[in-house]
């Protein structure tokens, strides 16, 4: 039986198709103003018998496709534990949400928390800051931050205020890469406060789109005094978890 796991995030849509323990297909596309159409594009040519959907668009999909839905929290917990069995904490920084999940030795979710309703400290925040600093993409922004030897302090976590703060730092002559590092530091420290409150001990899986960011990865590994594992493709962990859920259900 072929099981599809679909994770409809705010910025990207991810698909994993599995047969038994084998991953037949894993792919992702950027989301658009029309998430349903994005999903159709992604599913084009994929064959599966049963689908489990997660992510912020899960209810939308549920109205159109016959599928089971689970929350992102559950999907990331399942996916993370499958790629890294000793994991007790999951940190997922996505496009608009940051989640910290504490799981016990049996894989059960003990506690979880998410960021507040704004985009502070999420992937979208980084994108907007990269743009404010005139970097052409996140990769360039992250690499530049890694080269800085010192960081400018960013006080505002509100996306709108932080953007003004960045602009005023630049206009006062601060080095662009130092501001870039400051921005990464700010979101990492905010995120780790959340993680340490929810899951204060145990091995960590760092997933979601922001786990692709080299500087965020480096800072998180440095500052957390415990093992941090970043999956080979950290973005598909939710879709993978959804597919695993479908497998166990069937």
């Amino acid at each position: 039986m072929k099981i599809a796991g679909l994770d409809i995030g705010s910025r990207t849509v991810k698909l994993v198709v599995m047969d038994g323990s084998k991953i037949l297909l894993a792919k992702k596309v950027l989301n658009s103003h029309d998430p349903l159409n994005t999903v159709f594009t992604l599913l084009d040519g994929a064959s599966y018998d049963y689908m489990v959907a997660t992510g912020y668009g899960r209810h939308l999909i549920n109205e159109v496709f016959s599928c089971t839905i689970i929350s992102e929290i559950k999907a990331f917990a399942l996916g993370s534990r499958a790629v890294y069995p000793s994991c007790r904490a999951v940190l997922d920084i996505g496009g608009q949400d940051t989640k910290a999940i504490h799981i016990n030795e049996k894989g059960k979710i003990v506690k979880f928390e998410m960021n507040d309703k704004c985009a502070a400290g999420t992937g979208r925040f980084l994108e907007i800051m990269a743009h404010a600093l005139n970097y052409s993409n996140i990769d360039e922004f992250s690499k530049a931050a890694c080269t800085a030897t010192k960081a400018q302090t960013i006080n505002n976590m509100c996306t709108v205020f932080a953007e003004s703060e960045v602009i005023s730092l630049i206009s006062r002559g601060a080095k662009r890469e130092e501001v870039a590092l400051g921005i990464h530091r700010a979101i990492v420290s905010r995120t780790l406060r959340l993680l340490n409150r929810v899951a204060p001990s145990g091995d960590v899986v760092f997933a979601g789109g922001v786990a692709l960011n080299e500087c965020a990865r480096k800072l998180i590994s440095e500052e957390l005094k415990r093992p941090v594992f970043v999956p080979p493709d950290p973005q598909i962990i939710g879709a993978y978890g959804a597919a695993l859920y479908g497998q166990n259900k069937r």
């Binding site: 209810h59 929350s71 929290i73 559950k74 979710i109 979880f112 998410m114 507040d116």
Partner: protein, 425 residues
């Protein structure tokens, strides 16, 4: 509804804004309540009350006023309805449950203030709450900092505002203060009504309010059954109507509904599919029409089986004793009763935590959702150490912090669904 236009304009309402409000309310009531499956017949009474909440009920108040009765508006369960009934007055809860005219409220209040307070001002300044306009007296109370300072600001906008002071500790001195305040409040009520409080009329007030409490406690008791005979949304609605309706008629309607539920239980009939998880909601009060979180919870695979809230068991669980033979004795009984309310303005507030644990057991719940209104410091702070304590008692807790806006529904739904998955195991 237009049949009431004359009454509404005489009350000074902004008819256009009021029509808009009623239309939004009507739609959301329909979407939230009328789409529920297999509702008890007895809910039709409450549907009717809600459809006439700004109409027929206000007409009743206006008619009562022409007979010399006083209408007394309040915002809190610390204001004893027994005393109001004793002077032949009518007690009404005032509107504070919707995001209406916040821009108006924010001109005289800070933006970062709890939605309940801003809503009360939004309704008043926007001239869309016929209750407050019908009031002969508005009673405030010194609960949280937000409310007590806001009453200073509200004062010039209402005809007569009276503020009851409240203690903050469950000490002897605290209790003496509360009794003093109730005696002063009696003097105020006697002054505005021209009626003296006697043993007989106060005893009648106590009996009427006790009967009302007994009816909602009976309803609460029936929610222990499996399958659950009534939804949490409908039960919350009844607890909200508690504050508006004629008390005797309300009591009879709740009892009639309970008779029906007893029959349902005998037949093994419920309102939720099998496997629906039972949860308790605890925390800040939910005033009409604040149904956001219960709606999310009950459309995500869980059923609410109890509310540890002022609009719920915290407000109704104690009866007023009737021992003694003088007004002084009855005032003492009233003070004893209200002094037990475990509002988060008290420090420490152990009994509230014990009540949460007791409710969790009694209603055979699987999880607790702690509902916080943003900027409500007393409840938000309590929810932190309560969560730690509840964890040690193996009570899974989800803390939600929100306001009256609709913009965070997606995020709340994700948290609630994940919590339900977690407690389902």
């Amino acid at each position: 509804m237009s049949g009431y236009n004359q009454m509404w304009s005489e009350l000074g309402l902004d008819l256009e804004a009021h029509d808009a409000l009623l239309s939004v309310l009507g739609d959301s009531y329909h979407n939230i309540f009328m789409t529920q499956k297999n509702r008890p017949e007895g809910m039709k009474y409450f549907d009717f009350v809600m459809s006439e909440v700004h109409g027929l009920r206000i007409k009743e108040l206006m008619d009562a006023k022409t007979q010399g009765k006083k209408v007394i508006g309040l915002y809190c369960v610390f204001v004893p309805e027994e005393l109001i009934i004793a002077v032949d007055g009518i007690s009404v809860g005032l509107c504070a449950g919707a995001e209406f005219n916040f821009e108006g409220a924010e001109q005289i209040l800070p933006r970062n203030l709890c939605a309940l307070i801003k809503s009360a001002f939004g309704f008043k300044l926007g001239r869309v709450c016929p209750y407050i306009e019908a009031c002969d007296l508005v009673v405030g109370e010194n609960t949280c900092d937000g409310k007590k300072k806001a009453y200073e600001v509200l004062s010039p906008y209402v005809k007569d505002l009276y503020v009851v002071d409240l203690p903050q500790t469950k000490s002897n001195a605290g209790k003496m203060l509360l009794k003093e305040e109730y005696l002063k409040f009696i003097a105020k009520l006697e002054e505005i009504s021209g009626k003296k409080i006697t043993y007989e009329n106060l005893r009648k007030g106590i009996d009427i309010v006790n009967a009302k409490r007994k009816a909602v406690l009976r309803l609460a008791e029936l929610r222990k059954s499996n399958p659950i005979p009534i939804s949490g949304l409908d039960s919350l609605l009844i607890n909200q109507v508690f504050f508006y309706d004629d008390p005797v008629r309300f009591t009879n309607s709740v009892n009639a509904l309970c008779d029906e539920l007893v029959e349902r239980i005998k037949r093994g009939e419920g309102v939720f599919p099998e496997g629906t998880v039972r949860v308790i909601v605890s925390g800040c009060p939910m005033a009409v029409p604040n149904w956001k979180v219960p709606y999310i919870v009950e459309t995500s695979g869980a059923a609410i089986v109890g509310e540890e809230s002022c609009v719920g068991e915290r407000g109704t669980r104690w009866l007023t004793e009737t021992k003694g033979s003088t007004v002084e004795d009855l005032v003492e009984n009233i003070t004893d009763r209200y002094f037990k309310i475990d509002c988060a303005i008290f420090t420490p507030n152990h009994s509230r935590l014990e009540h949460i644990k007791e409710m969790f057991e009694r209603y055979n719940a699987k999880g607790l959702i702690h509902y916080n209104l943003q900027f409500c410091q007393p409840y938000i702070i309590e929810s932190g150490h309560f969560e730690t304590d509840l964890k040690n008692s193996n009570i899974p807790t989800l803390r939600l912090e929100t306001d009256y806006s609709q913009e965070d529904i997606g995020q709340l739904k994700t948290r609630v669904e994940a919590f339900i998955e977690r407690i389902k195991g």
